[in-house]
């Protein structure tokens, strides 16, 4: 019964707001501080690429599986990237087994849009036989522990896994794609980093913890590419934001993104 977890604990909200007003957070962080990020890659040998990311106690495992399939009709000479998120019930008492709910679909779609808009991989290079056979890259986000800010952690994990992914090489014989023994890197061109900002009372914090997410008024996720361009926005939560607040949040994100990107590039 997940509704029991939707109840806003008034006491917690009051305490978090009071603490934020002093410029600090309940876990001792400053308003603009991320929790510790650690990245391990290549841990699922059976996947073409994989990464496990800890963002504080938030833990996300991403596996990349690369198969072959038909292209979309409107892009016959481009490969396909599919992003899927599983809120595994071990991750939180609020997660229940069953088909994906709206939150896990939102997570998958926000990460997916980030990867796609920034064109992390050259989709035209993922074509094997135009109109017939293309690579299908599955990015599966597996949430193992939910301690807040799943989007940012998942985006980092997806990028780290894609960077290390190897795709099987196909050769064309009589207009048929034949699998060879060879493998080659997927080649990631860009690193679009997601930065999530929560508005709690009058304060803005980055990388909200589970407690902060429980009591926040609104949330804005901004995905920023290597050149400082914005490639995805997602506003969430049932309070509105003013234009000034949106500008402020975007500025925070653009400033914060290079720091997180450096964690990914420093992971090998």
């Amino acid at each position: 019964m997940s509704s029991r977890y939707g109840i806003i604990p008034r006491l917690k909200r009051k305490k978090i707001q009071e603490t934020l007003a002093t410029g600090k957070r309940m876990d001792g962080r400053g308003l603009g501080d991320y929790r510790e990020i650690s990245i391990r890659t290549g841990i699922i040998e059976k996947a073409e690429g994989s990464a496990e990311v800890y963002l504080g106690e938030t833990r996300v495992l991403v596996g990349i599986k690369i198969g072959v399939g038909a292209p979309f009709e409107d892009t016959p000479d481009e490969g396909v990237l599919v992003c899927n998120a599983e809120f595994v019930p071990v991750a939180s008492p609020a997660f229940e087994p069953g088909p994906p709910d709206e939150k896990s679909i939102e997570l998958a779609r926000v990460v997916d849009r980030g990867l796609r808009s920034a064109e992390v991989v050259d989709f035209s290079k993922l074509c094997i036989i135009p109109g017939k056979k293309v690579y299908v890259v599955h990015v599966d986000l597996y949430i193992l522990n939910h301690a807040g800010n799943l989007i940012d952690a998942s985006a980092v994990a997806a990028l780290a896994a894609l960077r290390g992914a190897m795709k099987p090489v196909y050769k064309i014989e009589d207009d048929e794609a034949v699998l060879t023994e060879k493998k080659e890197p997927l080649k990631v061109r860009k690193l679009p980093v997601a930065v999530t900002i929560a508005k709690i009372g009058e304060s803005f914090v980055v990388d909200p913890s589970a407690d902060e997410e429980e009591v926040m008024d609104a949330r804005l996720t901004v995905t920023v590419d290597d050149d400082g361009n914005i490639c995805t926005l997602q506003k969430s939560g049932s309070e509105g934001l003013t234009l000034d607040e949106i500008k402020k949040a975007i500025n925070i994100a653009v400033e914060k993104a290079p720091e997180i990107r450096a964690k990914i590039t420093g992971s090998e």
């Binding site: 019964m1 699922i44 059976k46 106690e57 495992l61 599986k65 071990v90 599966d140």
Partner: protein, 240 residues
């Protein structure tokens, strides 16, 4: 066990002895949000288990007036096998979830928590043959870590037959190419088998021998489960 299986130069695909387990690593208390948890590597199997409860049963009509309901879930990550599999639970997942429940139920004092539920979730992050046994091994450690009162631990492993020889703890290749697979779960202190399945073909003598072999394997795994549980309190011995 008869030594006749050993005399020729026959070798297992990973170089193990016929009665040797794969390398096993178990860790307890790995998930902060679960009431109890465990991680196991058994060969290349990588499995994480989390336990929640005992807690109020939802939906209420599924509650039993005289005991807790144990709910088990066996689930495989899409990237755990080759090729990718759909994350939707399959018929196989549902059956394994059920036999896991039967394997664990006899060990738990369910009657102490009427109308409540105890949820055991196992997630296969990478599969390498014998996942149901590895899941039971991890789930047991997670149940103890959750403080659920138990009669005994449940240890599980498979025995089987390949190339006409009996072997312990089948890996993925042996599972697929072998002539028989007998997964078994066992409570060592109570000397009871709580999971027994088999597919393939075995004579009654071979079957008996397989069961004995699997039980010997379970006893070794039981010791590793104990060590994993004790390790979490490792400082115990050093303190004055």
């Amino acid at each position: 066990m008869s030594p006749r299986k050993k005399k020729t130069k026959w070798e297992r695909i990973d170089g193990r002895e016929w009665n040797e387990l794969r390398p096993i690593r178990i860790e307890s208390g790995v998930l902060p949000n679960a009431d109890g948890s465990a991680y196991i590597e058994m060969g290349r199997n990588k499995i994480i288990a989390g336990v929640f409860g005992p807690k109020e049963m939802h939906p209420k009509h599924l509650a039993k007036p005289h005991m807790a309901v144990l709910r088990c879930r066996y689930h495989m990550a899409p990237f755990s096998v080759d090729p990718r599999r759909s994350p939707a639970p399959s018929r196989r997942d549902n059956e394994i979830s059920m036999v896991m429940r039967y394997a664990l139920e006899p060990a738990i004092f369910l009657e102490r928590y009427p109308r409540s539920s105890i949820d055991v979730y196992t997630e296969v992050l990478q599969a390498d043959g014998g996942t149901r046994c590895a899941c039971i091994n991890a789930a047991t450690v997670a149940l103890v870590d959750a403080g659920i009162p138990m009669r005994d631990l449940v240890a599980a492993c498979a025995a089987g037959k390949i190339d006409g020889r009996l072997i312990l703890d089948l890996g993925d290749y042996e599972d697929k190419k072998g002539q028989a697979d007998v997964p078994l779960a066992y409570m060592p202190k109570l000397d009871k088998v709580t999971l027994l399945q088999m597919d393939g073909t075995l004579s009654t003598e071979e079957m008996e021998e397989c069961v004995g072999l699997a039980i010997e394997g379970c006893k070794q795994i039981y010791e590793m489960q104990r060590e994993a549980l004790k390790k979490k309190y490792g400082i115990e011995k050093e303190e004055p």
